[in-house]
Amino acid sequence: MSVTVVDARHLLCPLPVIRTQDAVGKLQPGDTVQVLCTDPGVVHDIPAWCRVHGHELCTITEQEYEIAISICIGGSGS
């Protein structure tokens, strides 16, 4: 079970979603991705992307202007 960090700070949507999608494509079910972002749009887009692809959104934490989203990779792949 690996943890991969995606630094999507200062990128605007949908680029954080694309970077997340690219990272998830290389991982296995059960792995975790942590995405670091600054665009507030990610709190809508990344959960929507997870629902569409069958991945579990574990946590979203916001501090100042930085947002960290943790995703557990589901079994259906990307």
């Binding site: 605007l12 694309i18 999608q21 809508h44």
Partner: protein, 347 residues
Amino acid sequence: MSRQPKAVALISGGLDSLLAARVVMEQGVHVEGINFYTGFCVEGHTHAIRKKDRARPRRNNALWSAEQLGIKLHIVDIIEEYKDVVINPKHGYGANLNPCLDCKIFMVDKAREWMDAHDFDFIITGEVIGQRPMSQRKDTMPVIARESGAADRLVRPLCAQNLPATLPEIRGWLERDKLYGFNGRSRKPQMALAKEFGFEDYAQPAGGCCFLTDRQYSVKLADLWATRGTREYDLDDIMLLKVGRHLRPRPHFKIIVGREEGENRFLEGYRKRFVHMLPTSHTGPLVLLDGEITPDDIELAARLTARFSQGRDAERVTIEVHGKSAATHSLDVVPLPTDEIPAGWYI
């Protein structure tokens, strides 16, 4: 075919592509969506940047469409490859710098590559004959099919009955009678079909989904190309054209003035790339200077910065100037009077 046919649908986030995918799904075809990010897409950025726009729904409409359909959506970054479409459109531009026909050909071609790589059988688009003046005409439909290489594997379910039969129809994967014959600019048939499928709250067309169709944006892009002497651009260039007031007081430099807090914060991300300034004696914008900057330019830009600050009516405003390196100094300047800012400076 022994297995379930599979189609990849171009999902823009608008109603037509949503309906087109659904019409094909109704016939038992496995559908997955694909959405291309060019860097010029309106969605997302503008809402994210400007504080005043934050009350608007911030959803990504393509992802919303995929959720409504219950399909996967693959979002593909085509920023680099798309440059050639913007710079050298074979079929030319529309009213602004929008290369709509070349864009559609390019996207269908990319979808064809994806289809081949993933062992899918055909491509779906939401095109309707007569819906758009440049790319969705009876005479351009075959051009897109031919030049994209998709040929008869390109299905337009909403107007298929007005077009020659495609491979999925000939092979019996799709029943032509269950496709549609929409034609023209009216949205009523699509709205009726949306109601039939139970789709509500879908994205309404509001000036297109691409900044290249926007006149003001195109003027700024043309200015960038003309002053640089090249049409090359990178993502930051085209992002910055979406933000702030752009004024070119001298041919060799322009300033980008944040219009509000959200834009100022966005421009802060570019501080290391540009000489920049901001008022310290009064509240005001972050201003980036783009070009070859001389000391005289700094003075002029500082006076403009003061003009766009809360100190516009003050006798003097203190402006902090930051070089690209760590060098910083302050200037006390007289705000430039509004009547000394020629309209021609605004890009």
